[in-house]
């Protein structure tokens, strides 16, 4: 919100410097947003406080904070004679309030200097006295208004309705505009003359020849304003206000104030015209309890100031007794929902800079950090200590038509409209950067989610993706294979590998916990957690193990790991098993492994058991 100090000082009398005022505004919720140029403050506006979209609203709060009197402009034309110059028909439920007045015999000309000065300081163009007054009142009170030339109406009516297909409007500030179906417009004799709450039309606009005007001020469905504003690409001072939660009651303040100024500076005679109100306004009554204020603030002295503060903010005090203040919430405070909002107002105006910090005294609760997070850190540390760099990449990718990929309904960026199925898709971008920097051996990883869908089911799953790139494919896959061994042996997870056409899958306990292929491997974190178990690596006594080697002829390549894994579990007397190597002998592929046992006398029996069971199960032949 832009606050020209010359305008602010119409309502509060202060000798504070722009810098001091900016500091005060910042503390109460209107942060200085831009450098101060001369006597104008540009303050950040938060969307809840619709009343802060007016100079008077900002003045009210700063007056309460600085303990100053607020000089509210006198409202004169509260009630007027009624005319039925123009009929108003409301044919849309997007209209909450629409009040009109007619002013006859006005003289259109230049605005008085004080209005011109203030509009210029605010940054609005000066046009003519009628238009300037509607703009002036909009900025002063925060409620948009709109004046039209009655004599340009073909029919004496205004219909508020939603557009059909292919309707157009000639706006004040641009050429012919096509409107989407369902746009809220003011229309006359079947044609749109104004986009409600957004912009006026050229046809009924006020010019220097205008003598009779209709003044309207409306309150519309905020979501609809936001949508239409985006559709027509207009974000002006009117939209900025209409799209916020303005009170329908504010319409009265604006239309009376504008009438007063027009009568004073443009002459003429004013009449009430139709006033539509969707729902009757009921003031809200709320109670502030000392107990609650003490509880949130942590102090017991705020309550003494509460009545004064609330009154300064124009809450009407109905009753103050038994440590309870009953108030009527001012109509313009559409943000006030719960008692804590009254608490907030009291603490805020008392001053945030006066809050005294205090440590939490309660006992800390039980640690609920999930095991996954600690586990993730363990894997991260393991990889870091093995020379891998951690990276984090944006999981949003371009949709490629893959059925299981999750796509967005509404992305603004066509290059980024779906989610990754594998970390590889996004992690490989990092590879390019390393190559660009001339790195030849690249070791990177990322822990993050991958996303997929199965029918209606949306699945997000945390995985660790590991990449090793040396430029040599053989070396890459050997290294990746070794990293998998490193991780899984550290986690004490026994596993077997199964080759498929896509990649090599890693299985443990019938569960597929990941895969690898070329320079990349991906493991599912949740499966790793389920499978990991404690393993003591401490040796206290000398173990005299005897060993024996076995060789078998394999038929299918991808089975060998499984065979060795199986052999390990054939006899409980096998202490460990080691893969020694494989070699090609003519057309045969021979695989040799070694088993260890602490029972040398049983060695022969174990050997026979392994050979017997394994050859039966996998149909392989052992060589003696």
């Amino acid at each position: 919100m832009i606050i020209p100090l010359v305008w602010l000082k119409d309502y509060i009398h202060t000798s504070k410097s722009p810098k001091e005022l900016a500091k005060a505004f910042t503390e109460i919720g209107l942060m200085l947003d831009k450098p101060i140029y001369g006597e104008v403050l540009d303050l950040e506006h938060r969307m809840d406080r619709a009343d802060w979209l007016s100079i008077i609203g900002c003045a009210r709060d700063i007056a309460a904070f600085e303990d100053l009197k607020l000089h509210f402009p006198k409202l004169i034309s509260q009630k007027l004679k009624k005319t039925e110059e123009l009929f108003i028909h409301i044919k849309s439920d997007k209209v909450n309030r629409f009040r009109t007045r007619v002013i006859k015999d006005v003289k259109v000309g230049e605005s008085p200097k004080f209005i011109q000065d203030r509009l210029a300081a605010y940054g609005l163009p000066v046009i003519n006295n009628i238009v300037d007054i509607t703009n002036y009142v909009m900025v002063e009170m925060g409620q948009p208004l709109h004046a039209q030339d009655i004599d340009k109406f073909e029919k004496k009516e205004i219909v508020l309705r939603e557009t059909a297909e292919n309707e157009t409007i000639q706006t004040l500030d641009s050429s012919l505009m096509k409107l989407k179906e369902g746009t809220l417009v003011l229309s006359e004799n079947g044609n749109p003359i104004c986009i409600g709450g957004i912009v006026g039309g050229l046809r009924t606009g006020v010019t220097e020849n205008t003598t009779n005007i209709i003044l309207d001020s409306g309150n519309y469905d905020q979501a609809s304003i936001r949508r239409t504003s985006r559709e027509v690409g207009i974000r002006n001072e009117t939209v900025l206000r209409s799209e916020k939660f303005l009170s329908p009651e504010l319409v009265d303040l604006a239309i009376i104030r504008a009438t007063d100024l027009i009568l004073e500076h443009c002459g003429g005679e004013a009449f009430e015209n139709d006033d539509f109100e969707k729902e009757k306004y009921h003031p809200r009554i709320m109670t502030l309890h000392k107990e609650r204020l003490d509880l949130i603030s942590g102090e017991n002295y705020y309550f003494d100031q509460a009545e004064k503060i609330l009154e300064a903010l124009e809450y009407e005090i109905i009753e103050n007794k038994d440590n309870k203040i009953k108030v009527q919430v001012p109509f313009f405070r559409t943000d006030v929902e719960v008692e804590d909002d009254l608490v907030a107002d009291v603490i805020r105006i008392y001053g945030y800079s006066k809050i005294k910090p205090q440590p939490i005294n309660n006992y800390p609760p039980t640690d609920i950090t999930p095991a996954t997070l600690k586990f993730e850190a363990k894997i991260t540390d393991l990889l870091i200590s093995s020379g891998f760099h951690e990276h984090i990449t944006d999981p949003i990718v371009k949709f490629d038509g893959v059925e299981s990929r999750i796509a967005f309904l509404n992305s603004v960026n066509s290059e980024k409209d779906s989610l990754r199925l594998s970390i590889k898709e996004t992690l490989q971008n990092v590879l390019k950067s390393y190559s660009k920097h001339g790195k030849s051996e690249i070791k990177i990883f990322e822990i993050g989610n991958v996303y997929s869908k199965e029918g209606e089911n949306l699945i997000e799953e945390k995985v660790v993706g590991i990449m090793y790139e040396s430029g040599d494919n053989q070396k890459n896959s050997e290294y990746i294979r070794r990293v998998i061994d490193l991780i899984l042996s550290n986690l004490n997870i026994a596993f077997v590998l199964k080759t498929s056409s896509k990649h090599i899958s890693i299985f443990s306990n019938e569960r597929e916990l990941g895969y690898f292929n070329g320079n990349f491997a991906e493991l599912k974190i949740n499966d790793l957690i389920k499978l990991t178990s404690f393993k003591s690596y401490v040796v206290t006594e000398f173990e005299n193990l005897s060993k024996e080697d076995l060789t078998f002829v394999s038929h299918i390549d991808s089975q060998n790991g499984e065979i060795i894994e199986y052999a390990k579990n054939v006899s409980p007397l096998v202490a460990k098993i080691e893969f020694l190597g494989e070699f090609i002998d003519g057309s045969n592929r021979k695989v040799t492994f070694r088993f260890y046992t602490a029972y040398p006398n049983e060695s022969k029996k174990i050997r026979e058991e392994i050979m017997g069971n394994t050859s039966k199960r996998f149909n392989v032949t052992f060589i003696s």
Binding site: E27, L383, H389, E390, D394, K439
Partner: protein, 325 residues
């Protein structure tokens, strides 16, 4: 003194030194005027008795001659030289992503204050992402255009506050958690805005939690992050999920609050949004707001990370544009 033993020791030592030390070093070690080992032995000779002198004198002399000859034979070029003044290159250790490093540092602080670290789903429902945060339908902050929707009512979480509502719904107080996490918005990419970013959220709910506790926690946290000399500013700021709300800024270190181009002439840099958890939020999450109060804070992590690691563009941070030395 057992001269025999001494001679043996020197001979053994010399053999080792020959393979390690340079020619000059070895000469100094054995023959320097004051500290040389052989010089020392020779100096002992006059102190011996006459008989001993006759026996040991020649032995010491021949040792001296032998070593001197051996020193002359040393071939400098064949020796492996170690210059300890040269810095060695770094080892094989990898590095954490700057964001992870920063998150770990923050977690360490909060763990010390009794906070748990939690996480939640990235694919969220409107209920947890908006409704329970006191954001009704049609609220400007819930504009469909700003979020990435997967199905009607299902979207990528737009803030870590969605994890707050999950934690509050699934647990009963006392609750003290922090949530580092990925968030998503429907944005066009620029150097400072990304559709993918990180937030760090903190939540405390217990009996008797006040706005004073919030300010103390934030003060301690900022001192931990930026050092004890950081100047903080607390001001009222509206967020729908809190009331009263609280904005936290740190004074610009370049201009000390006067206003400069670094802080965009505000004198302060906004770091964090917070407040007392909204009455309605607690209620909607199944916690009695008449019995329990609490606070929550949330901050964007990326700007902080980029500042610390001197990264100028968020697209580099998460788009694969950074590598480690």
């Amino acid at each position: 003194m057992d001269i025999n033993q001494k001679i043996l020791e020197i001979r053994n030592l010399f053999e080792k030194d020959v393979s390690i030390l340079g020619k000059d070093e070895i000469y100094l070690k054995y023959f320097s005027k004051n500290t040389g080992l052989i010089t020392g032995l020779i100096k002992e000779i006059p102190r011996l008795g006459i008989e001993e002198r006759k026996v040991w004198g020649p032995k010491i002399n021949s040792l001296s001659k032998e070593l001197e000859e051996n020193i002359n034979l040393i071939d400098e070029s064949s020796k492996l030289l170690i210059d300890e003044t040269i810095k060695l290159t770094k080892g094989e250790k990898g590095y954490l992503h700057p964001t992870t490093e920063t998150i770990r540092e923050m977690n360490n602080f909060f763990k010390f204050y009794g906070f748990s670290v939690v996480e939640g789903p990235e694919i969220e429902t409107e209920e947890y992402n908006f409704r329970k945060l006191n954001l009704p339908e049609n609220h400007p902050a819930t504009d469909l255009q700003d979020s990435l929707y997967i199905n009607p009512g299902v979207l990528l979480r737009t803030h870590t506050s969605s994890v707050e509502t999950r934690v509050l719904t699934e647990n009963q107080p006392p609750i003290r958690v922090v949530v580092p996490g990925k968030c998503f918005r429907n944005e066009t990419l620029t150097a400072t805005n990304s559709s993918f970013f990180y937030q760090y959220q903190g939540v405390v709910v217990d009996k008797g939690i006040t706005i004073k506790n919030l300010i103390q926690t934030l003060t301690d946290f900022h001192h931990h992050l930026f050092g004890d000399d950081v100047v903080l500013r607390f001001r009222y700021k509206y967020y729908p999920e809190v009331s009263p709300g609280l904005g936290t800024d740190i004074q610009c270190r370049f201009c000390r609050g006067e206003g400069c181009s670094v802080c965009k002439y505000r004198g302060y840099i906004e770091v964090l949004g917070s407040g007392m958890i909204h009455y309605n939020t607690l209620k909607m999450c199944g916690i009695d707001p008449e019995v329990y109060t609490g606070f929550a804070f949330g901050m964007g992590l990326d700007r902080l990370v980029m500042q610390r690691y001197k990264i100028d563009d968020i697209r580099k941070l998460y788009g694969g544009g950074i590598i480690y030395k």
